[in-house]
């Protein structure tokens, strides 16, 4: 039997593994139809469709991007994951960015994402 804790952890890994592979269909399977993503850099909420489009167009921005050091804590209806995005640019430069994602989950799908990072670090990419 899957507990909420293991279910949320698995969902979190499925999301990040799919983003890492650039597998947008697999990302979509993690999302509820009414999923929204709020981003601390813009202060705006993005729909599921807009997020999937942004992910699809972002896959070629870097040579490789991995989501490492995932520290996941789960609660009844969601999870928080603290992680490091490691980027290898097309020029071969390596950049690391620390970020945090809070997710709300319903019926095994993500309904809301809140992403926090420091855009002041973007310049070092």
């Amino acid at each position: 039997m899957t507990t909420p804790d293991t279910g949320h952890r698995r969902l979190c890994h499925e999301l990040f593994d799919a983003i890492e592979r650039g597998d947008i269909a697999a990302v979509d399977r993690c999302y509820a139809p009414d999923m929204t993503l709020w981003f601390n850099v813009t202060g705006e909420e993005m729909t599921r469709e807009d997020n999937l489009k942004a992910l699809a167009s972002g896959t070629d921005l870097h040579r490789r991007r991995t989501y490492d050091d995932r520290t996941i804590s789960t609660f009844d209806d969601g999870f928080v994951v603290q992680y490091t995005v490691n980027v290898i640019t097309h020029s071969g430069a390596r950049v690391a960015l620390s970020a945090c994602l809070v997710a709300e989950v319903r019926d095994g799908k993500i309904t809301k994402l809140f992403e926090y990072l420091d855009s002041g670090k973007f310049g070092s990419r």
Binding site: N40, V41, S73, Q82
Partner: protein
């Protein structure tokens, strides 16, 4: 600690910050508490954090920690909130911040803080762009 104790500790922590009660914060941090900030990418000790607080308060007339959305897990909490500041000039600004904390025996043992440094200037009223 159960969920209610963790929530209460979280609220106490932010109330103490808001009311500039460094003495109360001292009792909320465990002796080995460390605070990590994504902006600086390094850990500070509880003593370094407490020593820096009086100076950090000088910039604003008032600071409140609002819209606190708290979720708890077995050994800690995550809180999403707005830090609303009123500068001495009267300028008002907001920062959106997320903190993940671990707790033990009624104290906070670790804080990881995530915010966007590109909003700092607008928050302090030094530019017209970004969060305000």
């Amino acid at each position: 600690m159960d969920e209610y104790e963790i929530r209460e500790l979280c609220e106490k922590f932010f109330d103490a910050y808001e009311n500039r009660r460094v003495d109360l914060l001292d009792g909320i941090y465990s002796d080995d508490c460390v605070i990590w900030h994504n902006v600086f990418g390094r850990e500070t000790t509880r003593d370094e954090n407490l020593a820096a607080l009086p100076d950090s308060y000088k910039g604003q007339r008032r600071r409140t920690y609002n819209d606190r959305t708290i979720n708890t897990f077995h050994d800690g909490f995550v809180i999403q909130y707005s830090l609303d500041g009123v500068q001495h000039t009267g300028h008002r600004g907001s920062l959106w911040i997320c903190i993940v904390a671990t707790c033990r025996d009624g104290k906070i043992t670790r804080i990881d803080e995530y915010m966007d440094s590109s909003k700092f200037a607008a928050w302090a009223g030094r530019t017209s762009g970004g969060a305000s």
